[in-house]
Symmetry: C2
Subunit: 254 residues, 2 copies
């Protein structure tokens, strides 16, 4: 019986070349999943993700779907997939969806989280999932700057792909910047968590937004400059691209 299976998955992107398969390499998440599923179900299986994640970026709630002929139910599929997936990828849920469901085309909203370790001491535990950058950052200035990005805009200034021909118009629904202080034993490891929710994201978009916000937080640029950067539609005007390993695709809504 042909089923359209929608899965939620988590991965540590540290050792992968990102989501999207490239040629025959299994060193992408999509490539790994397709190779495993094709073997498991003894048929060619193509996996459609909600979107690509860059090399080194993690996911806590990536969503993907695939069509497969199988008698297995969702529980059995989760079990079998986790049995054969490497330790840095796990399926947390599977459900049978309408044949027309498409993980990318039907995605309404995505949330990314970027963690910046700002404390005196580098965190050891979880260090793979945040950017340690112990500068004094003005959260107030960063929030002021972030407000310029809300709504529908052409985000060309925040797009890492300079050869892109399609529309760079996207809508950012919210950007929050929270200060938290995770405690591990006697150690305190303050961090900023920047959450960005929008209807879609360009290549490196969240990382360039974060890199620019950090420069503003450090006082290297005034918060008001964010409006001019956005209006310029020029990647050169924005700040550096923040490192991949601080970024996690948090959730996808349909």
């Amino acid at each position: 019986m042909n089923k359209n299976i929608c899965i939620t998955l988590q991965y540590d992107g540290g050792r992968y070349d990102g989501w999207q398969k490239q040629g025959n390499t299994e060193e992408t998440i999509q490539g790994r999943l397709e190779a495993m599923l094709s073997k498991l179900f003894e048929q060619d299986v193509e996996v459609q993700g909600s979107g690509r994640t860059d090399a080194g970026v993690h996911a806590v709630g990536q969503v993907a779907n695939f069509h497969v002929n199988t008698v297995y139910g969702p529980g059995k599929i989760v079990e079998q997939m986790n049995r054969y997936l490497p330790k840095d990828i796990v399926v947390t849920d599977a459900r049978i969806v309408d044949a027309r469901f498409h993980a990318r085309l039907n995605a309404k909203r995505k949330t990314y989280r970027y963690r910046i370790g700002t404390g005196f001491a580098r965190p050891v535990f979880g260090r793979q999932y945040l950017w340690y950058y112990p500068a004094e950052l003005s959260v107030e200035a960063m929030r002021q700057a972030a407000a310029f990005l809300l709504g529908e805009h052409d985000f060309t200034s925040f797009c890492g792909n300079r050869h892109r021909k399609k529309s760079n118009v996207r809508t950012i629904e919210s950007i929050t910047i929270e200060e938290t202080v995770p405690v591990v034993g006697d150690g305190e490891f303050p961090e900023l968590v920047i959450s960005v929710t929008g209807n879609g994201f360009l290549q490196n978009m969240v990382r360039i937004i974060v890199g620019t916000l950090v420069e503003i937080g450090e006082g290297k640029r005034p918060p008001e400059q964010m409006g001019a950067i956005l209006a310029a539609r020029d990647r050169e005007q924005a700040g550096a691209t923040a490192p991949a390993h601080g970024l996690t695709l948090w959730s996808v809504e349909y």
Copy 2:
């Protein structure tokens, strides 16, 4: 000025051959610290830990001390050490202590924590710090068995070093077994956290206790057998040694 410096440190033991230096290798925590401190202070520095941790075991609150001639205060020492230490070791605190203070001889009490992932899905985040063993474990049986170990006993049955000549008598003050369900995104990753506090621990002692408790939790042995295992003073009577990567030295009290 000669100072006796007491530090608290955290490490991810994953890629180390344990705490204790062996010959010239820097692949031990102690070896790494001594090499770095000797270079930093341009003098031979010996580091005394509260105790050894096995290869692969982590620490959230290891304590160590060293004597050094320096004008640096504790804050500067923490800063300099963290500047030169690798990313999987961090110093969270330093203080100047009495010249006679000795991190091992003066330790009164240590707490270790062992995490067992028991859920349907393997956790991806933090997987390096727990043993994923998705069996149905009777926590009640494990608690009953653990009670036999409380107090002062000869723990030869739980000692991994068969050639040991010194006393194997130690006191366990408490063993707690807690069920928690960390949530990551939409995923739930239930685990058991076994905390053991005592005045000292033999080689592999906590790991053999955990391995034995797990066999009891699975119903392979009755809880009452723990008393006989302890009384036998025979390593063969106890269960398997649980994997190193689930264990963390949590704290040391003086």
